[in-house]
Amino acid sequence: MTDTMARPEGGIGARLPRKEDAELVTGEARFIDDIHAPGELWMGMVRSTMAHARITSIDTEAAASVPGVHSVLTGAQLADMGLWVAPLPCAWPVTDDMLNPPHWPVTPDVAHHVGDIVAVVLADSRYNAADAADMVVVDYEPLGVVASLEQAREDQIHAHEDLGTNKAYTWALDPDPEGTQAAFDAAAHTVSAHFVQQRLIPAPMEPRGVLAVPAPHGGELTLYSATQVPHVLRVMVAATTGLPEQTIRIIAPSVGGGFGAKLNINPDEMLAVGLANHLGLPVRWTESRSEAAASTHQGRGQLQHIELAADENGKLTAVRVKIDADMGAYMMLITPGTPLLGSFLYHGVYDTPHFGFTCDGWFTNLTPTDAYRGAGRPEASYAIERAMDLLALEVGIGPDEIRRRNYLAGGEAFENLESAAGLVFDSGHYGPSLDKAMEIVGYDDLRAEQARRRDAGETKQLGIGLCTYVEICGLAPSRALGGLKYGAGGWEHATVRILPTGKIEVVSGSTPHGQGHETTWSQIIATKMGVDPADVTVLHSDTALSPLGMDTYGSRSLAVGGVAIAMAADKVIDKARHLAAHQFEASPDDVQFENGSFSVAGTPAKSVHIQELGFAAFTAHDLPDGMEPNLSEQVTFDPTNFAFPFGTHVAVVEVDEETGQVDLIRYVAVDDCGTQVNPQIVEGQVHGGVVQGAAQALFEHAIYDENGQLTNPSLLDYLVPSAAEVPTIETDFTVTPSTSNPLGVKGVGEAGTIGSAAAVMNAVCDALSPRGIHDLEMPATPWRVRRAIEQAGGGS
């Protein structure tokens, strides 16, 4: 393959400015709320104000009389209209006996969480829809509310009365429980820790929205949706509404961030499609921010119990984990599987002979949970990395030393190493990652400054937190997904074609929403084919242009989709080589390819650039016998293994012991995502990911009261941090190519988040350590920190 790896300007490894930016910095980009269809009707959702209640009556009369209102429809009426042939889908029944109560777009009888839709109004404007929705009067008979995971676990009140239990499933990865127990029995040191993964609201800056447009005379229906998953959505629209799949076109326009929040199959999407199809009119809806906490799934929501066993030197002998996961009120697309995405990672980057993991999934009367940036892996990384700090305290060595003693392969480079959980880690090299992070942050100087402040008894104490994470991405080998009972494959599709004028068109099955695929895919083509990246256009996010795809989530786009593009480019090059050989009257084996040009060794006069061959392939006047016209090749790539990015992060915090205020004052991230296509984009992914994880540690928490009411649904009180709350994120990298794909790439979309919550909380606990405070629940709010100090006898 080396002869294809030319180095044009802007190829793999270049900090190419993004192609996507021009329309975004000028306001020309079209997001969902910017797109309109003539005659469109606005949906206004009437949402349950109660967390668990039977609907006894709905009075729609006043709403129906609001000017501009087309109709007002209750769940019972909608059920009679037959808009749907199946409830909203759950694609990941993790066990054969998992409970999965039906989840209809509009509930016909019982509301199971605040925000469950009970009726919908249709009106001619967003203003009139809001007025009418406000005037629908719903009477409820309250039912018992399961308002927390703790309460769900007690199993006295049931989130779904007819199920008779809140437990949805038990899933275990526990190959040798006796061996694990024996290791604990023989351990010189043990740690037993409980951690809480609070519920988070993903909050991409663009709220969700939909616009369903039926063709005027029947036939095709186009659904515009602010979604990460147009291809998955198309399948699910067909399965849920019964519309023939080939008549459904999904378009994801410019999508303003996702972070998992936009990978679901939502009530509003099925309402829009069902009503548009039924009425023959376009139907739309744009989520309001305060509504989003109920209309879009949340993330995290776990109680974790992790136990470590170690020998006298602090060398791990067993890791045993039990988690309880909050499903919320319904199983959405991958709700049950989300916590299990972390199951294989609870031993982190460490070598342990014994490992056991069990997860119970529980229903509550709260907004459903599902994937949020990292999806299961930040939780795993948090548990093991917090626990390793506790083990360091137990053994009496530093947090760096406990890690060094336990790294897989002793911290040396490895390839294709089987982990205790039974996966094969593609590649890793953990020692240098820690070295580099400690050097950049100036670890020894920071420890000296920390000691000085402690000795001086200063108000603002310093805390330093380490985290070495590993994550699992590049989802995924289809067989592996099948083994986990996931309802789809993990392949990705790509088409690469040279147009008659020599320009290049790439069709991508992965679906960007801020990641910069148009730029990076162009760079891959530039390197592969020896062309200017400006000559490449990437088509995506429209099932009519890109019919095959598995979309973007789980840091899979580059490691699966990008690799598919590279492979399709190779196929185009190979075909072009045969065409060039035909023109040269030479054997294809004698034709070289370098910097985009084919030539015959020793005959410099015979040379043709690959882009010039587009026209010959298009006219097809003189092709080799048996060659099809055009240079257009496609690949569906199904990886044989996951990719395992890793890195070491160091957080430095200042804790004001009088007020409890925690300031994140420095953050150093040394990540390894294998080969980098665009380092500037990689850095950007790390910056944003780190801040999202740090926000879990310090700011964000969806707080429900005992009635299942969210107390902080808006951005006024759900505290997404601003520039004023975070420092510059300092990034550096090591490069350990993956063995899972020919480009050696891993993934970086979630890495920052997976490393940062643990690093920040380790720093907070490190600062408070002299007071005997070694754990604190997230987020470490000033109030919570201050209470901990007072309880530790530090009141003043």
Binding site: P17, R18, E20, D21, A22, E23, L24, V25, T26, G27, E28, A29, R30, F31, D33, D34, R126, Y127, A203, P204, M205, E206, P207, S254, V255, G256, G257, G258, F259, S288, R289, S290, H513, G514, Q515, G516, Q680, I681, E683, G684, Q685, V686, H687, G688, G689, V690, V691, Q692, S714, L715, L716, V720, S722, A723, A724, V726, T728, I729, G752
Partner: protein, 153 residues
């Protein structure tokens, strides 16, 4: 009722309900969809425009309050086919990913640099305190504002 304002240098008027928010006037009545809505509590800054040269949240103004005002939206920033230096700096510094907060962030940054011509990092961070971005972690946004204002770090 009738509202008339100068929007991106052009006199524009429309008949609106008094309750119509300025952002909906810009987006729905004038078709200037570059200004985005990210929240409903005046918290996120996605809808920031310039009103009489200063940053303002167009979700927290009624259209009728803009009577006679001079309004600049993201669409009015570039001139003669040249990006405004702030737009250029956001592109050069990779200060945007999904781009949804970007129009508001750029307008807030233009206003900030107008008030503080050579802002320090702290002034930039505090000046953008109410413009939320979920993608970038702000590191490159701060860098872009520094570059556009001709300042160092």
């Amino acid at each position: 009722m009738q509202v008339s304002a100068t929007v991106n240098g052009q006199q524009r008027s429309a008949d609106v309900e008094p309750r119509m928010l300025l952002v909906h006037f810009l987006r729905d009545s004038l078709g200037l969809t570059g200004t985005n809505v990210g929240c409903d509590t005046s918290s996120c800054g996605a809808c920031t425009v310039l009103v009489d040269g200063r940053s303002a949240k167009s979700c927290t103004m009624l259209a009728v309050q803009a009577e006679g005002a001079e309004i600049t939206t993201i669409e009015g920033l570039a001139s003669n086919g040249e990006l405004h230096p702030m737009q250029q700096a956001f592109h050069d510094c990779h200060a945007l990913q999904c781009g949804y907060c970007t129009p508001g962030m750029i307008m807030a940054s233009v206003s900030l640099v107008d008030e503080y011509p050579n802002p320090t990092e702290a002034q930039i961070r505090e000046g953008l305190e109410a413009n939320l971005c979920r993608c970038t972690g702000y590191t490159n946004i701060v860098k872009a504002v520094q570059v556009a204002s001709g300042g160092g770090s």
